[in-house]
């Protein structure tokens, strides 16, 4: 792959993670347990969608085929999205959502940290902006995990089950593919095995404070980075793309 096409594909993948997680969180709008939590969740969702816009715009520039952020967000078929399976998982109950956020955000924060020092300025600039946002998101989600885990007997049991259920989507975050290798070789990108060591320490600390048990490393699901998604993804995409598919190019 040429340098430009590595950057285009890598930025698009980062954009996909941010967009799909943002879309999942948008589904929670008007469904939060408290007004303040409602505002926080909507803010965070918009942070992610803002990150997706920056990554997509940059991906479009690197690709040089005239596609803009909207084309990339709304007009691709399912198998062209390369987000992690974790971010497309349904919101479930509040504890499920929180566990998904903690597992993803602790990985994403470590990844962004490395990307702020990568040798491509386009990626490093966006990563630096996103890093500040995600650091706060993780503070929020991590504190909630502690509250739920170290809360009542029922909240403890439910959030432990969320952790056990979602754990199988974490292996994919640390399994490098060709694109990860190219990004690392050409642009000083993240070394995913090293990232995993950091992530395990970070997650173990939050999980311990929440008085929860880290799940055993079981069979790990993968495929998101290759465009093979879980059964939930088509429904998410159908809702997200509906307006652009029905009224192409609509603006307000």
């Amino acid at each position: 792959m040429s340098d430009k096409s590595v950057l285009a594909a890598y930025a698009m993948r980062l954009g996909d993670n941010a967009l799909i997680l943002g879309q999942r969180m948008i589904e929670l709008v008007a469904a939060s347990p408290e007004l303040e939590e409602e505002l926080a969740n909507a803010n965070f969702a918009l942070d992610y969608i803002g990150q997706a816009r920056m990554f997509y715009t940059y991906a479009g520039e690197c690709e040089g085929a005239g596609r803009d952020e909207d084309d990339l967000a709304f007009l691709r078929p399912e198998h062209e999205y390369r987000n992690l399976l974790l971010v497309e998982q349904p919101n479930g109950h509040f504890g499920d959502s929180i566990v998904r956020q903690v597992l993803f955000e602790s990985w994403y924060l470590a990844l962004l940290d490395v990307l702020t020092r990568c040798s491509d300025e386009g990626i490093s600039d966006i990563a630096a902006r996103a890093f500040k946002e995600v650091r706060y998101h993780l503070r929020h989600s991590g504190q909630w995990l502690v509250r739920l885990g170290d809360g009542t007997e029922e909240s403890h049991a439910r959030v432990q089950k969320s952790l056990n259920d979602l754990w199988r989507f974490t292996g994919e975050m640390f399994a490098p593919d060709e694109l990860d290798d190219e990004m690392r070789a050409s642009f000083n990108g993240p070394h995913l095995e090293v990232l995993e060591l950091q992530w395990r320490l970070d997650v173990a600390a939050i999980v311990a404070e929440a008085t929860l048990e880290l799940p055993d490393d079981q069979w790990m699901a993968s495929g998101g980075k290759q465009g093979r998604h879980t059964e939930h993804f088509g429904f998410l995409l159908a809702e997200m793309q509906h307006m652009q598919r029905t009224f192409p190019g609509a603006t307000w």
């Binding site: 303040e36 939590e37 505002l39 803010n43």
Partner: protein, 94 residues
């Protein structure tokens, strides 16, 4: 049955050098959550550089029924106002 979270009062310092001002209130289950909720509710548009939160029931307030004893004696003490000084133009926020 839904149990309401305690109320916290939120104070925001809009920029360095100014004092914190009361911005409003939030509900929260604990102190950390109160700080987060205050941040997410009252500083979304870049309104602040510092936040204080305090549980509303920890604030000791004057009694409105006592206001005549509390405040009216100060009404006619004009000599307590520093109106006899010239304030230099360079002094802001006084």
């Amino acid at each position: 049955m839904k149990q309401e979270w305690p109320l916290y009062e939120v104070f925001i310092r809009s920029k360095s050098g100014l004092s914190h001002r009361h911005a409003g209130s939030v509900h929260a289950a604990d102190d950390e959550m109160a700080l987060n909720n205050a941040r997410d509710t009252y500083t979304r548009r870049n309104e602040g550089v510092s936040i204080w939160v305090v549980r509303s029931d920890r604030i000791v307030a004057s009694d409105p029924a006592e206001s005549s004893a509390f405040f009216e004696p100060a009404e006619d003490k004009i000599y307590r106002h520093p109106t006899f000084y010239d304030i230099p133009d360079e002094v802001e926020n006084l």
